[in-house]
Symmetry: C2
Subunit: 206 residues, 2 copies
Amino acid sequence: MKSMKISDAVVRRLPIYLRFLSELAMNNVLTVSSQDLGQKLNLNPAQIRKDLAYFGEFGKKGIGYDVLFLIEKIRQILKLDKTLSVGLVGAGNLGRALCNYNTYLKDSMKIVAVFDATPEQHGKVINNLIVQPMEELEATIKALQIRIGIITVPSTAAQQVATQFVAAGVEAILNFAPVVIKVPNNVRVHHADFTTDLQSLAYYLG
Amino acid sequence: MKSMKISDAVVRRLPIYLRFLSELAMNNVLTVSSQDLGQKLNLNPAQIRKDLAYFGEFGKKGIGYDVLFLIEKIRQILKLDKTLSVGLVGAGNLGRALCNYNTYLKDSMKIVAVFDATPEQHGKVINNLIVQPMEELEATIKALQIRIGIITVPSTAAQQVATQFVAAGVEAILNFAPVVIKVPNNVRVHHADFTTDLQSLAYYLG
DNA sequence: TAGATTGTTAATCGATTAACAATC
DNA sequence: TAGATTGTTAATCGATTAACAATC
């Protein structure tokens, strides 16, 4: 069980469970069944039970899952039980917008440094963060122990930024640039490219 | 072949092919093999051939695919050969950032209307678009024949906006709010939620 | 022709769902 | 106890990959 390989599909559902569970907790709901969860999240209850069972026996037969307990467990699984530092490169419109999500991400993650290649941006303040030049990227990432990088630069610069992130020791990258970037096997990349999302949507028009 | 059901996984790769093919075209590359494509896009060549073969015989044995021809075909498949009108609700930081992608989306899609619930936003101009009140949503969507909607409002308002979109005749929705929204079966929703992307990334930290 | 590459079938792999004994 | 719901196995479903004849 311990060393079983968990599929990405499972991992990507965990934050969705977490979010809904947090909402339940805010409403003082104490327990929830896989049936409830499935209904609210448009997922099969068996799938939810299976997803959670990969990591332990979190539920009680006949009762369901304790909301607060499950929140704690999923936080641990996702390594969100401590605050993770995030660095962002690209202080354009999108980058600045993302910086303002810090309040939403709350305790689990925090964007702690912003970089940009254009000198005009340097020194500008975004949500209490000072935009730094690229030359300071490596030193800052190491000093602040940044393990996750966000890329919001134009496509043409994305690969170069990814390479710099990796060289500085970043372990995971969220890439918003509409281009496939390549990194070593030990670094994880997720693509958050809304242009491809939009284009694939068009296929489903009647 | 004509009525074969294409999986979402396939549809979501088509825009990625399209983007890279456009880049090749800009560099005056005339043909490309599935091997080349696979290498550049981190995909299996057999998968690429199979994806494309769902829609027709676009390649030439021994040669590969004609770049311009394939671009045209994928545009047709994705219904991107004519300009699609897009409406956006939520003129916050993220919404404003997305409006500036109009130039990138070029001919295939265009955000043509922006709405917001807060009166302070009404009348403001974003990238040549005037922010309209929600009361005008339905009339504007019908008048401009908007078929795709983007939601960039807070989670608490997302479901309501989705319902309004559907009522106004929108056929596909890209939801940036970190919440699962429900729509009728004939409407397609894609979730573009970077907070869950980020949280699932954390799982892969060493 | 020889080499390259497609389109497609078959094999493999993986993910989802159904079913149900265990049990709260 | 009776009803509800888990954890898990088995069945199903679907997606990816390998292999190769066809052919440019």
